[in-house]
């Protein structure tokens, strides 16, 4: 009788996958993609940002398929992203065109255009609301209707939300802010060419914006807590809103006026102001402001703020601070990479372990 290869591996995987699929439907309840879109917006925003793929429905689908695992959802989205053809780049967009839903500044009490608190968790009281355990659809409909009615009857000051000035413009006018020279050069696309060190600013910003929220937040935290140069950045402006995107007519690419509007994406933008020493023409040192910049798909405020801090720290590195080390920061914030490599440790390592055993035994044998 001949020897056959054990087919166990294939069987085990098949069964495991079946078990996983079963676990998702075992209770008989189905989580509709619409439910995720309706009730878990921040989760959808986080997934879109970490996958660097803006599609709310796909993100909700990924969350559903992944059973709520962020690691898995982002993985699904990124893998899907790999299959998509890259047909166009949008035209350069200014966030001044944003239809603002929320806009605050921690640096000035009053800003041209006004502060708009918008919708955020910032000032909620974090008490668990046990009424939510028994919330019904009818109740939800009634609550929504009551708010809409109250809203309609409230006087609000008029604000042109589509043309709000930037706080940084004010600083520039006052001569307190170093205007960077206008740079229209083509940015690098890190999904088309892997980053090389030293990196360009566009490579850094892209790496940070698609970084895992926790990783970027932790490093930003370390930076302002003392392991870095930006010890107390001031948020000059944080805005959340809809940013319109355009694609140029390929037949008339230079004609920006005729570019096609393809839709709007929700973005969060943060401009942090950090004081910095600069030298003027006669060589004298004076103090000015520099900007740390953060931008994310979706409403991801903490990440955008942390990103702005890290942008500053990498743009103005100081010796000996890990958050100034671009390799340390940029190579370790990607969710797919970090979770992938860590989880690969679960793979069989029998052969390398055997090799190690042999080595240890030889050494032991040698010293006895």
């Amino acid at each position: 009788m001949g020897y056959v290869a054990v087919k166990g591996g294939q069987e085990a995987i098949a069964q495991s996958n079946l078990g996983l699929a079963y676990a998702r439907v075992r209770s008989g309840r189905v989580l509709a993609v619409e439910d995720i879109l309706a009730g878990m917006r921040p989760l959808v925003d986080q997934v879109m940002s970490e996958s660097s793929l803006y599609d709310e429905e796909l993100a909700a689908l990924a969350i559903k398929q992944a059973g709520g695992s962020m690691e898995e959802a982002v993985f699904l989205m990124r893998a899907h992203r790999s299959t998509l053809s890259r047909l166009y780049y949008t035209t350069a967009t200014s966030t001044k065109e944003m239809f603002v839903e929320r806009r605050i500044s921690a640096s000035f009490k009053d800003i041209p255009g006004g502060q708009l608190l918008g919708i955020a968790h910032d000032f909620t009281q974090r008490f668990l609301d046990f009424d939510l355990l028994t919330e019904t659809e009818d109740e939800a409909i009634r609550k929504a209707a009551a708010y809409e009615e109250q809203s309609a009857n409230t006087e609000v000051p008029l604000m042109d939300l589509r043309r709000l000035p930037k706080v940084v413009d004010y600083l520039e006018e006052q001569g307190l802010f170093e205007t960077a020279p206008f740079d229209d050069s083509e940015p690098d696309d890190i999904t088309k060419r892997s980053i090389q060190f030293p990196t360009s600013r566009s490579q850094r910003l892209q790496s940070l914006t698609r970084g895992q929220t926790g990783a970027v937040t932790s490093l930003g935290y370390a930076e302002i807590r003392g392991y870095g140069v930006a010890n107390h950045p001031n948020i000059g402006e944080l805005r959340v809103g809809q940013l319109p995107l355009h694609v140029a007519d390929p037949r008339r690419a230079e004609d920006e006026e005729d570019a096609y509007y393809i839709g709007s994406v929700t973005v969060t933008e943060v401009e942090s102001f950090i004081p910095i020493d600069v030298a003027d023409e006669s060589g004298k040192t004076k103090m000015s402001f520099s900007i740390g910049y953060g931008l994310t798909f979706g409403q991801n405020e903490t990440k955008a703020i942390a990103m702005s801090i890290l942008d500053y720290s990498l743009e103005h590195p100081a010796e000996n601070h890990p958050t100034s080390d671009e390799e340390f920061v940029l190579l370790h914030v990607d969710s797919v990479e970090s979770t992938g490599f860590i989880s690969h440790l679960k793979l069989p390592h029998y052969v390398t372990f055997q090799s190690l055993l042999d080595g240890i035994r030889k050494i032991k044998g040698g010293t006895e």
Binding site: A279, S282, G283, K284, T285
Partner: protein, 279 residues
Amino acid sequence: MTKESPVLSLRGMNKQFGEGCSRCIEKPENLEKNYCPNCGTVYACRDISFDLYKGEIIGIVGESGSGKSTLMRSLYFDSEVTDGEYLLADYKDGQENVFGSSLQQQKWIRNMLLGMVYQNPLLGLRMEFSSIANIAEKMIAANHRNVEAMFSRGHELLDKVNIPTFRSSEAPKNFSGGMQQRVQIAKALSNNPPVLLLDEVTTGLDLSVQADVLDLIKTIQRELQISMIVVSHDLAVIRMLSDRTIVMYNGEIIEEGLTDQVLEDPQHAYTQQLVYSLL
């Protein structure tokens, strides 16, 4: 090369930190000490020139800010100069400026023709490796591939610097300051370089330990006839070791000559201050 030709020659070496400006470029009279109050540019080394002959020790003395450490770093390629000519008898017969050579050539020179002992042993040693591996590092960089031969040479050198053989497999991080300096010396000698650079090697050590290390350096120099440049802010060290002395102040050489002469009959006001404070 004839006996009169120097082993190492430096001509017009300049090092500045900063771009300079209209007030200070080529206008040394506008400088305060060695920096420009207008643009903040520091002229750390200005027009440094000297020759080192075979078998002699030159001492370079100056206070902090004199430029002596910058000079040492430049000689060992730890930092780049602004301009100047650096000739070594054992590199292309002393005909080519070492400052202009390629990085690969500089690495070769650093490995084969120069030995360096830093004030801070962290700069000269790998603290996580055994002391004998530290010594072997230079030999390996010179393409030696026989472990026994390197062990042998390493032990020979450790012996020369009075470190017992049983400590050769220990890492220098566990050694005293004086011992760490001695490991550095052994390492610097491993490829028999014609020139040894010693940067404040006894500063920070206990006085008795200092005496030990200085004694060792003098012995080695006698036995191996190796040429040395010793930098120190301490005139006593310079007096003990060097045949000739160069005094640096604000980035310039203000006085030089035979050590005895400089000590007995200092010309420059600053040198006089130094010498009188020694007594």
